[in-house]
């Protein structure tokens, strides 16, 4: 029973991490249709913000909002100078954001070297709950991640800004003819997507090594979540994260991490195949 509870808590922790990492991609890729291969690097930069904050003697908790601000500005600048010129050409966007990811990794290497960095766990120790001991920081991470995801979902579904973004996604020309400043709305949406990735990076920083290649590990998982959760609906990120985290935790419990990755990829392929059949069936 305790083993099952522990696996459930592990699954919840994976769900929270995946959800907050994939949230930004859900906005940028799922809603706006921009394939951003540099999303993992945004997470990596968020982790480095956490490292810099720690190295300068400040509290880890300061790094979470600071990473959001830094990544919002960086994301906005990238949208302004790069994405808005090419976003209607998916193949160009893939190449450009791939190049951007390489550049961001190289810049991180120039500034911080290839050395592994780390930040100490701000909430060390474990808490006994539901009959098992579980790292306290992971409880905190789950709480913050859920709060960030819920706040972002509300911002995109209940606010005027969210309505504006959905209108642009639905019909850009009509949005412009309705007086919507599509350029500013796109910049803000891309910036928010980057900011949530920054928050994710700052949150996961105490859990592992911080190095220039760290973002690469997060990109496939984030795409899996968005693909499984579905496009055009931001809450699909929550569903996708739940399903992917459930599959990964379950397979790791019975087999190992390699089979968990294989199962996740198989799930994404099956979902894409099912969607293709559904779309073809609907249009037949």
């Amino acid at each position: 029973m305790d083993a099952l509870t522990l696996e459930l808590l592990n699954g919840l922790s994976t769900f929270a991490t995946l959800g907050v990492v994939a949230l930004g991609l859900g906005i940028v890729f799922g809603l706006m249709g921009i394939i951003n291969l540099a999303h993992g690097e945004f997470v990596m930069i968020g982790a480095y913000v956490s490292y810099v904050v720690h190295a300068n003697g400040f509290s880890h908790w300061l790094s979470v909002p600071l990473a959001a601000v830094v990544l919002f500005v960086l994301g906005g600048a990238i949208e302004l100078t790069l994405i808005r010129r090419i976003h209607r050409q998916p193949e160009v966007t893939i190449l450009a954001t791939f190049g951007l990811s390489v550049c961001l990794r190289q810049v991180a290497e120039l500034v911080f070297t290839k050395d592994f960095r780390g930040v100490p766990n701000p909430v060390p120790g474990a808490t006994r709950a539901f009959g098992v001991l579980f790292p306290t920081y992971r409880y905190v991470l789950i709480g913050i991640a859920v709060a960030v995801v819920v706040a972002t979902l509300l911002a995109f579904t209940k606010s005027r800004f969210g309505l504006t973004v959905r209108a642009i996604v639905a019909d850009r020309d009509l949005a412009e003819a309705s007086g919507i400043r599509t350029g500013i709305a796109n910049l803000c949406a891309f910036g928010i997507g980057a900011a949530t990735a920054g928050i994710a990076g700052a949150l996961v920083a105490p859990l592992g090594a911080i190095e220039p290649q760290a973002g690469l590990a997060y990109l496939p998982g984030a795409f899996l979540v968005v693909i499984v959760g579905g496009f055009n609906k931001l809450w699909g990120v929550v569903v996708g994260a739940l399903i992917v985290a459930g599959v990964q935790t379950g397979v790791i419990h019975f087999y190992d991490a390699v089979w968990a990755q294989i199962a996740s990829l198989g799930l994404a392929v099956a979902v894409l195949q099912f969607r293709r059949v559904s779309v073809e069936g609907a249009s037949a």
Partner: protein, 226 residues
């Protein structure tokens, strides 16, 4: 407010459609733009709103150059369009469509056509009939504070009683000092409402006239090959 186009040129994907079109729409008048399918009427409306880039000529709004302004700036300056195709965000609710167009109280707009659209706020716009979508787009434009309205075939798909209501609302808008460019194939409504006519053919203005001209109806019928 006055909208002026001087030698306006535009097209789709490098293919020229408008070949130097000049016209003006002043406050308190309805100018009917007529022409056969493919004449370039919708291209003209999209170019004036800014969805298509003018490749030549000038657009002035109250004497101010707006030729290079983005659509949002033109809308804020006082233009508003109701489009022939895809007039609404089909995935959004009726209320959200109206909020996006600057109407915080959707019921006020829905009341423009009496009971025809009453109680539809929560309905997804894509589930309205084609005629209802056109009515809603027209109502949204009429309920706005824009000084110049561009109405692209607003009667298409409307039942006769609603065509009459729309005519009355356009007449009232004109009488309140607004200028209207009415793209219309429904000649009965156009001749009832318009102060002036412009005939567009293959991207050029081939005829124009005022409502009082005696042979106008014959000329319009000839141009439209009715």
């Amino acid at each position: 407010m006055r909208l002026e186009a001087h030698e306006l040129r535009s097209g789709h994907g490098g293919v020229p459609v408008l070949h130097g079109v000049s016209f003006c729409v002043g406050g308190g008048e309805i100018v009917a733009l007529v022409g056969r399918n493919g004449a370039g009427k919708t291209t003209l409306v999209k170019t004036v709103v800014g969805l298509l880039r003018a490749t030549g000529g000038q657009l002035l709004l109250d004497g101010e150059q707006i030729t290079r302004h983005p659509p949002s700036r033109r809308i804020r300056a006082g233009l508003r369009a109701a489009f022939q195709e895809r007039p609404l965000f089909s995935q959004l609710s009726v209320a959200d469509n109206l909020r996006l167009s600057g109407h915080p109280v959707p019921e006020h707009v829905l009341a423009v056509f009496g009971d025809s659209l009453a109680g539809r706020s929560a309905q997804r716009a894509g589930t309205l009939s084609g005629g209802e979508q056109k009515m809603l787009a027209a109502a949204s434009a009429l309920a706005s504070t824009a000084s110049i309205l561009l109405m692209d075939e607003p009667t298409e798909g409307l039942q006769p009683s609603n065509v009459e209501v729309l005519g009355d609302r356009l007449d009232a808008a004109r009488n309140s000092g607004r200028g209207i460019l009415l793209v219309e194939q429904h000649l009965a409504l156009a001749t009832r409402l318009a102060d002036r006519f412009i005939v567009l053919s293959k991207g050029e203005i081939v005829d124009s006239g005022s409502a009082g001209e005696r042979d106008l109806a014959d000329r319009l019928s000839r141009h439209l090959a009715i």
